[in-house]
């Protein structure tokens, strides 16, 4: 139960970080990592509680995906910085509706 609370709190922290963050794209990437970690914590606690390995297998898959995703995200951010000279989250607002 406490693991469930922990993962929920981490998930909410990640979400709030994405929504409220105005300064930095890297913080946004980190918050996405937090959300993924919250899901891995939930999967691990679930797999221990239900005594099955499937949760741990998924966790490893998620970690891999998260690593790949943060690598690509960092690459995009560094390219963006090279083009614009800033990584503020308010900066990419040219595509309005």
């Amino acid at each position: 139960m406490s693991y469930l609370m922990l993962s929920t709190i981490i998930l909410l922290m990640g979400i709030l970080g994405i929504i409220l963050n105005r300064s930095n794209l890297i913080i946004m990437l980190m918050c996405i990592e937090l959300i993924l970690l919250a899901s891995t914590i939930l999967l691990l606690s679930g797999s221990c509680a239900l005594n099955t390995l499937l949760g741990q297998v998924f966790t490893i898959v998620i970690l891999t995906v998260a690593a790949a995703e943060s690598a690509i995200g960092l690459a995009l951010i560094s390219n963006y910085y090279r083009l614009r000279g800033t990584i503020s989250a308010c900066a990419p607002n040219l595509l309005r509706g």
Partner: protein, 602 residues
Amino acid sequence: MPLLIIFIPLLSAAGSGLGGRYLGGRGSGLLSCTWLSIASILSLGLCYEILLNGSVVYLNLGRWIESDLLSSSFGLHFDVVTAVMLIVITTISGLVHIYSTSYMKEDPHLPRFMSYLSLFTFFMLVLVTSNNYVQLFIGWEGVGLCSYLLINFWFTRIQANKAAIKAMLVNRVGDIGLILAIILIWKEFGVFDYCSLFSSLDSCHSSHSSLSWICILLTIGAIGKSAQLGLHTWLPDAMEGPTPVSALIHAATMVTAGVFLLVRSAPLFDYSPTATILVGLVGSLTAFFAATVGLVQSDIKKVIAYSTCSQLGYMIMACGLANPEGGLYHLLTHAFFKALLFLGAGSIIHALLDEQDLRKMGGLVRNLPLTYILMLIGSLSLAGFPYLSGFYSKDLILELTYNNYCLISIYWLASITAFLTAFYSLRLVYLSFISGPNRLPKVEPAEDNWELLGPLLVLAVGGILVGYIAQGAVFAPGPRPLPFVPTTVALMPVILSLAGILLVFAPWLVPLEPRIHGFLARAWEFTPITNYYVGGPLWKFGHFVSYRVVDRGILEALGPTGIVLFILGRTKELSSLQSGLLFNYALTVLMGTAITIFLFWQ
């Protein structure tokens, strides 16, 4: 032969209208004159059969509208009334055609003019020969259309355009009356053709009030077409067309259609005394009104136009005295002397190089002696001088007004009108021919060629003799016993006419007060009053209600434009949600997810 009479003018119209550019002015004039002459000779033959031999021709040409209860067919019906109208239309029209070839010689659009004239004749013949009301309506609208085309013949003049539109619109008011009458006839009787309708009248006493309404609506139709009081305003303006057109419209065709309608519908009017009295009142008031206005007009054509209006009032009045034959008789004589007057006025105008103002004429008797004689014959005939054709018919109508079944006011109005008619018609002759010359010494006027004067001579012979010749005919109740009137009443029209004629030659005994003169010269202020009380409010209604409230208001707000504007505004608001900021998108996604989960997780 009956079909030929009707379709020869149509062929002539098509020939000079479509082939005018190949024929040229001279050729198309020759073509249409020849064909119209053939038509008038044929119609004289037909009239010999009908009027003298008494054989009514009835032709069924074919079915036209065959609906469940509504059935109408094309058919021709030549009886006495039609025969008289045929003489009038084809003779006058043929003479006007011949006259036009000379009068309009220099006009580059002569083929078009001849085509319109022939088309006018065709539609008028359709009107008088039809055997039902629906086919009559074809001719009724057709002559309205042709009057529009002819008044607007010189279409580069703004006055001509305005006059033509006015003629069309004011006629439309009467046409609505006629349409409603036809619809009511169909509702009450279920038939359109005259024979069935008039024979079913006896068995139809139940619908007495609706019969009155039919007659009143027919009267409205006649008021519009015959320029009676109320809807007369188009007639003086119709003088904007060429002079032969005025002769055709005012003498033979257009305006006589209203009288013809009343004469044709006379059996209906026998069942409705209310409508009959109404017709008599309208006719007598029109006669009086137009005669007073004619007293002071300074335009030579306007004087004759108002005299037409006045004489039509006499004819309508005769129909309102339950004596349509008298009206028809006056129509016949009037056609001849009025065409004579108009064409004579055209001759004067032609000689004076398009000068129409009576005040700038005078002393023409030395230059235009033949025209003077012809105009004098026409004017005396119009004035009812004894033993000219106007005398016979007008005297008859005036005696008819003096009987117990009619309002006595009709008699007084008609008598005063007879006096005024004599005065203004001789005033025209006096001012243009006899008084001292007032014109600028531009050019010495001279008589034109015989193409112009020949038709005038024929019409003058008609203006002298037609009244006497037709006196014994079936439709002109000469030999029949007239209503008994006292000798003074019987002599009164002649005395009044002679007094009116003599008054002209007295040095102006009656200098009218300027205010009365202005009132009469502006035609009783009819046009301003109509413009102020009818035209203006309708115009404002059209602008404010129809245009602003309905068109630009309701229909545009609820219609396409309003919907487009509404959707555009909403989509602008919706698309401004997409702000371009990443965290707002993330918020939207998460909120959307949360809402979806909240909604579907139960």
